[in-house]
């Protein structure tokens, strides 16, 4: 039976793992390669690096971290953050990533999705969407933000997900900006709206705090995978303990892992 994926996400800045609450207040959490290996050993189904510096110097340290992490990873490995061109994506694939995730650059020029897919395959292109609900409006009007959540785009998340799929994206990584870092649960309504609008897998992100939240986003949110960062880093949970709890709840997960 196809299982629900638990994805460990590492926010990387200047070669170190950090995690913010609602995109600010960054705190240091360790070496990315070491943490990636630890999460994989604990049963993470996939590892994601999100580079939140995306400056020129930051990019060089990121590639180095990707290369070091990839050496010991034999599960799918996705890298995103600040990728603007197919050439930049190629450098990250070359360092050992299996998939790249793109966000602002695809919003600026959606052809980029197909350009990367043409060389590396659709399965290698993850479109990341940062979305926020619009007060007093239906969920279908949730808005997409660019530039790490700083810039409004006026686009609707559901429509953007559909367009990305038609342009050849292989998966959608959907982050609820309202929930991110709160540990109060995923935005199940938003996730379901996007997941039901597309055929490609949707990875829910933002708000993981306990196992119940994962169960909810898989059941009510119709998510194919769920991503969490901060809950794993400080020993609050490890992936295996989370999966055991999900299995008791009747969610299909890869166990033993």
């Amino acid at each position: 039976m196809l299982t629900k994926r638990i994805i460990a996400c590492l926010d990387v800045r200047s070669g170190r793992v950090v995690k913010g609450v609602r995109f600010v207040d960054l705190i240091d959490a360790g070496d990315p390669a070491e943490l990636a290996a630890r999460h994989a050993a604990a049963g993470a189904d996939e590892i994601v690096f999100l580079d939140i510096t995306a400056t020129h110097e930051g990019r060089a340290t990121l590639i180095d971290a990707v290369r070091r992490a990839a050496r010991q990873l034999f599960v799918p490995f996705t890298v995103g953050g600040g990728i603007r061109t197919a050439g930049e994506a190629a450098a990250i694939f070359d360092a050992g990533a299996d998939k790249i995730s793109i966000n602002s650059a695809a919003l600026a020029r959606s052809e980029l999705i197909g350009e990367i897919g043409a060389t590396f395959g659709a399965q290698a292109v993850v479109l990341a969407i940062d979305a926020r609900r619009v007060p007093d409006r239906p969920i279908s009007e949730a808005e997409v933000f660019a530039a790490g959540g700083r810039k409004r785009t006026g686009r609707r998340a559901v429509e953007w997900a559909r367009e990305a799929e038609s342009r050849g994206a292989g998966e959608i990584l959907l982050t609820s900006m309202d929930s991110d870092g709160t540990r109060a649960g995923f935005d199940c309504e938003l996730t379901a709206a996007v997941s039901e609008a597309v055929q490609i897998p949707v990875i829910a992100s933002g708000g993981a705090g306990n196992a119940q939240h994962f169960t909810q986003v898989f059941r009510e949110g119709k998510a194919d995978a769920a991503l969490a960062a901060s809950i794993f880093h400080f020993g609050i949970h490890d992936v295996r303990a989370l999966k055991e709890e999900l299995q008791r709840d009747g969610i299909p997960v890869r166990l033993p892992c």
């Binding site: 034999f74 799918p76 590396f120 395959g121 399965q123 194919d224």
Partner: protein, 213 residues
């Protein structure tokens, strides 16, 4: 162990190469028939479109692989590389496969479940105990990403004229399908062993260590 990993300009070979090197193999990434012919093991990866296999015909790799298989060189096809072992695929109906195994790939039907099939799914190996799953449990989890699949009715015709099932492991998504094929020195996996953790590494190691009995 000298392993030729065939490059046919279809996607990212880095992960396959890395996993095989991790297991101690000496890798040549090549699209030259002579290098394929000289290898002790041949791996055909694939994350692209079935039509990309046309390049194998154009470069002479198809002939080199057919000859190498006939000489007994172990061959492993991964994902589209496995599908290529069949007669063809609905993904590119005019592009023939190698035709080593009888059968054609089909697309998952549209319905309640999403297509592509992406993620970790359980596979069940056949009762005979296939060589490529040696040391593993009957049921294991492996990583898939694909929209086309080989049916569970894939056969191989032996020299004695007898037909045998080539399916060494099956799985289910929307419907049952072949997760792995194996007959003699020819192996195929629809999943990605290079991305399937310790289970996948064991499959690759079994391939590298395989000897005819």
């Amino acid at each position: 162990m000298r392993v030729a990993v065939i490059d046919y300009q279809a996607g990212n070979l880095a992960s396959v190469v890395k996993a095989l090197r991790h297991l101690g193999a000496e890798i040549t990434v090549t699209e030259r028939p002579a290098e394929v012919a000289a290898a002790e093991r041949i791996v055909l990866p694939g994350v692209g479109h079935f039509s990309a296999t046309r390049r194998l015909d154009e470069t002479g790799i198809t002939v080199a692989v057919r000859d190498a298989i006939a000489r007994g060189t172990p061959f492993l096809g991964i994902c589209v590389g496995m599908q290529w072992l069949l007669e063809g695929s609905a993904e590119a109906p005019n592009q023939p496969g190698l035709g080593h195994f009888m059968g054609r790939c089909e697309r998952f039907p549209e319905g309640k479940l999403k297509v592509p099939h992406v993620g970790w799914n359980s596979i069940e190996t056949n009762i005979v105990g296939p060589a490529m799953f040696r040391g593993l449990k009957r049921i294991e989890y492996v990583y898939f990403t694909h929209s086309y699949f080989a049916p569970i009715t894939i056969f191989v015709r032996e020299a004695d004229g007898e037909w045998h099932s080539a399916v060494s492991a099956d799985t289910e998504y929307i419907q049952p399908f072949a997760a792995a094929l194996e007959w003699g020195n020819v192996f195929g996996v629809q999943f990605h062993p290079e991305k399937s953790g310790e289970t996948g590494l064991r499959v690759l190691r079994n391939f590298l260590e395989w000897r005819p009995c």
